[in-house]
Subunit: 206 residues, 2 copies
DNA sequence: AGGATGTCTGGACATTTGTCCAGACTACTC
DNA sequence: GAGTAGTCTGGACAAATGTCCAGACATCCT
């Protein structure tokens, strides 16, 4: 009761975090099928039984890992959204290009495995409704960013085009991953497509 | 030598096809991890050892199943592309809307599991370069369709926007799958987004 | 220092998995 | 109808997997 096993808990949480990181990396690199208890433990550098100690089951471990990874992404999206919204931007081509660039940089940041794991969440969501909430949160956060960008750029109805812009970026990222193109090229493609799309939607909604 | 086991081979091929269908369905419904020898065989209604008889390994079975499913899609895409190209369309709003509609119908046809399996191919491609060719073929066929549509609608440089349109549609489909929206809604969203995008790219490239 | 308490792990277990093959079976030729 | 060649399958095997737990371990209070 009065015990504060500070060191214990600290190390425990560190191991738990290591397991979650390892799980995310394995899912990204070799798929969900390869994310076994032993593989995850080996990657995290802990004994196999550690996984059972910290998580009810392998499913809970994976769900938690996905959740954490997703939270990071959502947080980054919301941070950029807040920046866009707080800055009083003037609707001009420069603003649009700047936003397109910032978005491209954000979605292409982070290791490749993380990005793949993110799409793996979408696949899980398509089968298991438990994951749908995860995916929806992600989409909504991204959509809010797109809407903020549209609004800052002077669009009359930001909501209309936001979903399409999210789809456009996700689609380009999926193509990048599946085709194996360089990150450099993917980033510039996303930036260009976003710029075009923003200009277009601007014209349409004005 | 002179033997023509016609009936044998016929039934054999039917079973092989049943296995491939079953594999595709299971991948779509429950993911690659659930696509085991026994699960596939049970679904196809054949003894478990049949899988080993017809395929070198489980990987070859899955790769073949993905390949077949993908070929169907590519064929459908090319058929529509040929139709668009052969018809001498006049570049007007009606043409664009008609093309948007035809594309939306095409990509949303087929059972949900097939669509998910198609995205699973993209995920595999992101990890295994062997699958990259599959994904690329798919993307290229779709891109050709989009380019044909742009060209028919009077776009000056069809190639420029085609890739973005493919990304847009794939992204919308992914959102549809992950969010669990109705097919009706997804189809209308795809149609609307395509119409807007085509009009936009039209203006941009002219 | 010593006991108490929560933290961790080696090893084991039942299941499930991929793979194989000896032999049963079927269709065909003569 | 008997023989034969190709087709198929039940059953078995090793390996891998998820899960569990008795006990070792570390940390803390008194």
């Amino acid at each position: 009761m009065a015990i504060r096993p500070e060191t214990h808990r600290t190390r425990g949480l560190a191991r738990r975090a290591a397991l979650l990181d390892a799980a995310g990396e394995i899912v990204g690199e070799r798929g969900i099928a390869a994310a076994t208890h032993r593989a995850i433990a080996a990657r995290a550098g802990v004994p196999p039984s550690t996984t059972s100690y910290f998580f009810e089951s392998i499913d809970e471990l994976l769900a938690t890992a996905m959740r954490e990874r997703l939270d990071e992404h959502v947080q980054a999206l919301r941070a950029l959204t807040a920046t866009i919204e707080s800055a009083e931007l003037t609707p001009d081509p420069q603003t649009i290009d700047g936003f397109a660039d910032a978005t491209a940089v954000l979605v292409m940041s982070g290791p490749r495995a993380h990005t793949i794991a993110q799409f793996e969440v979408y696949m899980q969501a398509s089968r298991d409704s438990k994951y749908s909430n995860y995916a929806e949160e992600m989409f909504d956060a991204f959509e809010a960013l797109a809407a903020a960008g549209l609004k800052a750029a002077g669009a009359a109805e930001p909501a209309t085009g936001a979903r399409a812009i999210v789809a456009l970026v996700d689609g380009l990222m999926l193509q990048h991953l599946a085709r194996g193109t360089t990150e450099r090229r993917a980033k510039s493609e996303i930036r260009a497509a976003l710029a075009v799309a923003f200009h277009s939607y601007l014209e349409v909604s004005q």
